[in-house]
Amino acid sequence: MKPTIAYLGMTHLGLVSGIAAASKGFDVVCFDPDPERIATLERGDLPVVEPGLPELLAENRERLRFTADAGALAGCGVVYIAPDVPTDDSGASDLGPIRALLDRVEPALAADASLVILSQVPPGFTRSRQRSGRSLYYQVETLIFGRAVERATQPERFIVGCADAAQPLAPAYRSFLEAFGCPILPMRFESAELAKISINVCLVASVSVANTLAELCERVGAVWQEIVPALRLDRRIGPYSYLAPGLGIAGGNLERDLATVIGLAEREGTDAGVIRAFLDNSRHRRDWALRVLHAEVLSRRRNPVIAVLGLAYKEDTASIKNSPSLALIAHLHGTDLRLYDPVVPASAANAPRAVGAADPLDACDGADALVIMTPWRQFRDLDPTLIAGRLAGRTVVDPYGVLDPAACRDAGLIHIRLGAPLSMLGAEADA
């Protein structure tokens, strides 16, 4: 008989994971102590934007029970602790809510239920919560905003932290994990906790390399996008490596892991200089668009109007935490702005001289420059000729290269993207 699975904390991670578990044929209890949040979910309103999630919810609705009643957990064989862990501006995690949730629900669980911490916690946390007689695990989550459904339904592997990795997993927990058909990697609590951080640090390392070399490309006449395919064909680097340059680390999770490593290194006396360098590079690249805009427009035109497409920190999400777009807008406080994002309202930018546009081309109307700060798919379909027809100026700052550079050139636009030579800078003023 299949165990009933419970997810506690109906924020991004818990909600997507719960619906994914139901899609594997398990009955799932989705618990949150906030009755209003539960009522919203009961109505079928999803508080997060994830491609495919509404459909997956609709297909598996009969196996999902949303509740604010902790008593509903008594019949569950596997109980996941899954609320998002809040971080402060320095990236430090606030584990208080996780501790409080554990304290509240542990007495309500069946004696043989497996308790699994899915929320990300630092090394040492899970062992500190080990209680006699309870099978406790830490499972690494690999949620990616905008790809959360794919990651939750088709995981590459399960990384499971155990009190003793030599002991077999609890049968109910094992049977649940096996339903996903991917490798299961048991290891010590501390190893699993650090494995999660290690994954993110490796990703940051790749992106930092891409950022460093892309900036050099901009100065020496090379094009990073031409170099990337050569790297992907190198087996030591790999076809899926993170080599797209960006505007610094955003979203909060990666910053949290870097802060955790620095904190641990300071406590343990190990070297974390390279992690600080990643953060410095991230800070430097975050302001790329501001520097380009300043060189092209702000220092050359009186009272310029800037069109900004994209406010979310990345495509397919409504999250604006550490959004490069909002960071840019914060430094354009004296500039007239026309803003558009498919899901984030212009009011989120909190910019006094900003107006929200009805669509991307409406945002371009009369603007001296266009900046595309989030690579939403719908922006890729924009016709540069139409953009050129609506803009008053010719400058398009497109860090992620969502528009085709050749098509922009043909439309008479000056197209500036990460990793491509900046030799066109100043061309507009000189033209």
Partner: protein, 296 residues
């Protein structure tokens, strides 16, 4: 990073420039006058900051509404030794004591990029301070004296290499190259002049100082163009202003090549509509002024 204490520009009631007869002090005094403030310039002839009673005498001149710009220093051409550094620190001690007695509305200190490590590239306001010269150590120590003892909003400005028509120094760079060319002498480079530096026109330092005064800003800001060029390029730009040919002469290299670049993002954030003039425009301006004065 600077913090503006005024949300919009506001002309300071009175600007007192300490070191007003120097190259930078004169430019700042001129800008403050153009801006409509009452501008009071004090030089060492008016008030020696090395005098035993300097703090009391300066305090007697200050008013609580004043915006004070502290530029005075014994520059490296007056001495590169520890004694010069200690004299400069005594001057800062006197200024610190004076503004302790009469707290002004605002204090701006003109420091230097010499406070940074030689290899801090690109230099930002967060770069490591590890001066390799007494001059750099002096500025860093002066900053500390002011940071710890001054109650007024304090702005520390760290300009890169400066040039301008009135520069009395003859350091390696645009000023010396122009004088050599004007005399019909060849321009002598160290090695091939490969080193890249960020050269700032003194009028841009004056303009940014004025903007800092007008917003009563506190904190730290580097002053640089954000575009470094080689000394060879500088020499070629200088030569391009002269009709007669001027030789640019390389010499055997005695020291390794070093570069210095600035990331000027903090300046962009503080004053988005400001940008420093580029080196070509700056050298052309200086050349025009030189011709206008009947030299060259």
């Amino acid at each position: 990073m600077l913090e503006h204490h005024l949300s919009a520009d506001s002309r300071p009631e009175r600007v007192v420039v300490l070191g007003a007869s120097g190259f930078v002090g004169r430019a700042i005094l001129r800008r403050a006058t153009e801006g409509g403030s009452e501008a009071v310039g004090l030089s060492s002839a008016d008030l020696s900051l090395l005098a035993p009673d300097a703090a009391d005498r300066l305090a007697a001149l200050l008013r609580p509404q004043d915006s004070v710009v502290f530029v005075s220093a014994l520059t490296p051409d007056r001495g590169r030794d520890a004694g010069t550094m200690l004299a400069n620190l005594r001057m800062a001690e006197a200024v610190g004591a004076a503004v302790g007695k009469v707290v002004p509305a605002h204090l701006v200190y003109i420091s230097s990029d010499a406070v940074y490590r030689d290899d801090a590239n690109p230099v930002t306001e967060r770069s490591c301070c590890e001066p390799s010269s007494f001059h750099g150590m002096m500025h860093l120590a002066r900053e500390l004296i002011l940071r710890t003892g001054v109650k007024a909003p304090l702005a520390l400005l760290r300009p890169s290499l400066l040039y301008g028509i009135d520069d009395t120094h003859n350091g390696y760079g645009p000023n010396r190259f122009r004088r050599q060319a004007a005399k019909g002498e060849p321009i002598t480079l160290f090695g091939g002049g490969e080193e890249r530096r960020d050269h700032v026109h003194v009028d841009d330092v004056a303009e940014l100082t004025w903007r800092v005064l007008a917003r009563r800003s506190s904190g730290l800001l580097n002053i640089a163009t954000g575009r470094s060029v080689s000394f060879r390029e500088v020499a070629e730009l200088v030569v391009s202003g002269f009709e007669r040919p001027v030789d640019i002469v390389p010499t055997p290299r005695a020291n390794p090549i070093t570069h210095r670049h600035f990331d000027v993002t903090d300046a962009i954030k503080a004053f988005p509509d400001f940008h420093c003039m580029d080196i070509a425009s700056g050298i052309a301006r200086v050349h025009g002024e030189m011709v206008g004065r009947g030299h060259g």
